[in-house]
Amino acid sequence: MRELRIITMREFFAYFATPLAYVFLVIFLAGAGAVTFFIGDFFSRRQADLFSFFSFVPWLFLVLIPAVGMRLWAEERKSGSIELLMTLPVTTGQAVGGKFLAAWLFTGIAVVLTFPLWISVNYLGDPDNGVILAGYVGTMLMAGALLALAGCLSALTRNQVIAFVVGTAASFLFMMSGLDLVLSVFKGWAPPYVIDMISALSFLTHFQTISQGLLHLPALVFFATMIIVCLFINIQIVELKKAG
């Protein structure tokens, strides 16, 4: 536990040592504000809620989360510091977990910093704060699953650009797998249960379920499972890769 916390803190502060953290925060917050008030028709809908914010979050995450996750292992491998890290008295699980938690915490800060939106809608109207809370829970869970996925892919390469591009593509697939755009590729040749399985992996569908205000258990379990499975695979990749 102690080791996990120390690694998490080191990784967390490492974000703020590079411009990446500030670029991320500015883009995320500016994007969130813009969609909530302008693109999302906030004023003409005459309804004070964060519906448009939560429908836009998945698209923001699609590019921003791989940017946060890409450095986790790729940078470590490129600079060789992985040799230092993995010869310190920590387990691979602690290293993987610490890096993931740091990235999640960092994303959490960005999400928390959207609180002025929440204050605004409460000031302008009388939104259902339960639904908003559910939306935030869904946002964090989806962020966690996307980060765990990005972390896995980051461990496969020493090149951050590759980690980013592949991370975005994979996030896109998982996000969209419930939509016809992706499913049509499989329709016609894959058996129906495969199609059902693919569409059941959709982050977007599960996120929408949660953010409609239903803290739907299967959706929560889905994201938790996704995170745990990705972290587990991440550990295997790190061990396998360093075995040479």
Binding site: R2, R10, A14, S81, E83, L84, T87, P89, V90, G244
Partner: protein, 316 residues
Amino acid sequence: MTNLIEVDSVTKRFGAIIAVDDVSFTVRRGEVLGFLGPNGAGKSTTMRVITGYLPPTIGTARVCGQDIQTHPVEAKRKIGFLPEGAPLYGDMSVQGFLEFIARIRNLSGKHKKSRMDDVIERMGLAEVLFQRVETLSKGYKRRVGMAQAILHDPDVLILDEPTDGLDPNQKHHVRELIRDMGSDKAIIISTHILEEVDAVCTRALIIDRGTVVLDGTPGDLHARSRHHNAVVLRMKGDEANRAAKLLRAIPDVGSVEKLDAADGVSLLVVPREGKFVAEAVGAAVRENNIQVVEMHTEAGKLDEVFRQLTVGEEAA
């Protein structure tokens, strides 16, 4: 238990490449083992196996009795490791980085402070303490790497080319440091600087293409040299031919070679194997009244032994 490091028939393959081929050795407390070998011999790979970074393909390594594969965390606690090229976290300050290492090594309170102060002083890091690691010069990075390795005062130190990139003062300083620490630790250093073996090591291990070709004291290494116990005489040029002839007549002398030096000529008197000719040479010089400017006995040339052991087979 005096064997702090035990390498037990370790083989490491990378696909078709056999980087380390059935290597076994032990290092006791109080020993400083010099790890020598040409580029690609498998030195770094062996060190990576001992420190638990790479799993061996066959065999295992134990550190302070803890098997690096079954008890990796316990073993790693006992080790201080300077990886090849001293990779560090570039985005941290020197202070922040050492703090991180101290915390993860479970140092705290007064003890942590005194250990931090000690390594900062020893490695001369006071003036760069708040600089980001990535902006440091190569030598300073190496020093930070060294500081990180000795911070928790480990029983076992594994240092991959610790003096590479250091200025002459720092080289000297680090060698002294290693010698100092050597008395109560087990230390392995790899190096391409053969004088370092004489300067700091109590034992030398030469490895070539993954296998150990020599394991002995620096003295053993010298003794393998053709030049071991050879006598060098420096004199004026016109004396050389007469002297060479007289010296060849001494019974135990194998050969006398003429080496041109800047000021005059040097004669290298090589004894027959296992013989000692210094006294006889001295007597001959006195009796025949040869004008000698300087005379000394060679301990043996390490680079020559190194070449013999590592390229010998290739050339043959």
